[in-house]
Amino acid sequence: MRLLLIGVVAGLFSALFGVGGGIVIVPLLVLAVGYEARLATGTSLAAIGITALAGAMLYGFEGHVEVGHAALVGLPAAAGAVAGASLQQRVPVRSLSFAFAALLAGVSVWLLAG
């Protein structure tokens, strides 16, 4: 029952913002279902595969998906993510997090002001 509700909320969030929904699923699995964080992250990826596919199809039917742009950004990103995940062990992630948070805050100001 809890999984069902988490799924529905994550799907809404995912489609509304064009994101996977991990930001919603992972904390809810940990807090409401008692998942361990790593297991929550892994399991969220399986769920997001279905969520993102459903969202891309529904938006696609309405003509909102630019397939060329998706491949252009999405394919190098998959390679980059593998590299990033293995870099995690070798770089000071904690201090870099502050720089990354500042970058995100900068982008959000651009979007809010634009």
């Binding site: 913002f17 994101v19 969202g55 593998v82 990354f100």
Partner: protein, 125 residues
């Protein structure tokens, strides 16, 4: 698409992927602004982002599976239930004015930035 757009798209995609893998955040929060930067409207950027995250998500799920971190049955239940939410989300997003959608996304990014900062403070140096 011009050669410049292709070069910028490939580089930003690669950078977004590295950052997503490094900080454990989804690619979507980076793909949407990237796609807006490439000239897509907010709604098309969000829709396209959902297709763009699929290769990253599949690669990530494959990797996590090898560490024994995926409960496939729960993942399938979550994913299938999410379709109802996705339908509602698509309905809402396609009816909202794009500048409202863009500002909501901006607020989401601020929230993620705050969460990252908090997580970094809370973790032991």
């Amino acid at each position: 698409m011009s050669a410049g757009t292709i070069a910028v798209g490939l580089s930003l995609g690669l950078v977004a992927g590295v950052l997503a893998g490094l900080f454990g955040v989804g690619g979507g929060i980076l793909f949407v602004p990237t796609l807006v930067g490439l000239g897509l409207g907010q709604l098309d950027a969000e829709a396209t982002s959902l297709l763009a995250i699929l290769p990253t998500v599949l690669a990530g799920a494959w990797r996590q599976q090898s560490y024994g971190n995926v409960r496939w049955r729960d993942g399938a239940v979550l994913g299938l239930c999410s379709i109802a939410g996705v339908q509602a989300g698509v309905l809402i997003a396609t009816r909202l004015p794009e500048d409202v959608l863009r500002r909501l996304f901006g607020l989401l990014l601020l929230g993620v930035a705050a969460q990252l900062t908090w997580r970094a403070y809370a973790s032991k140096p």
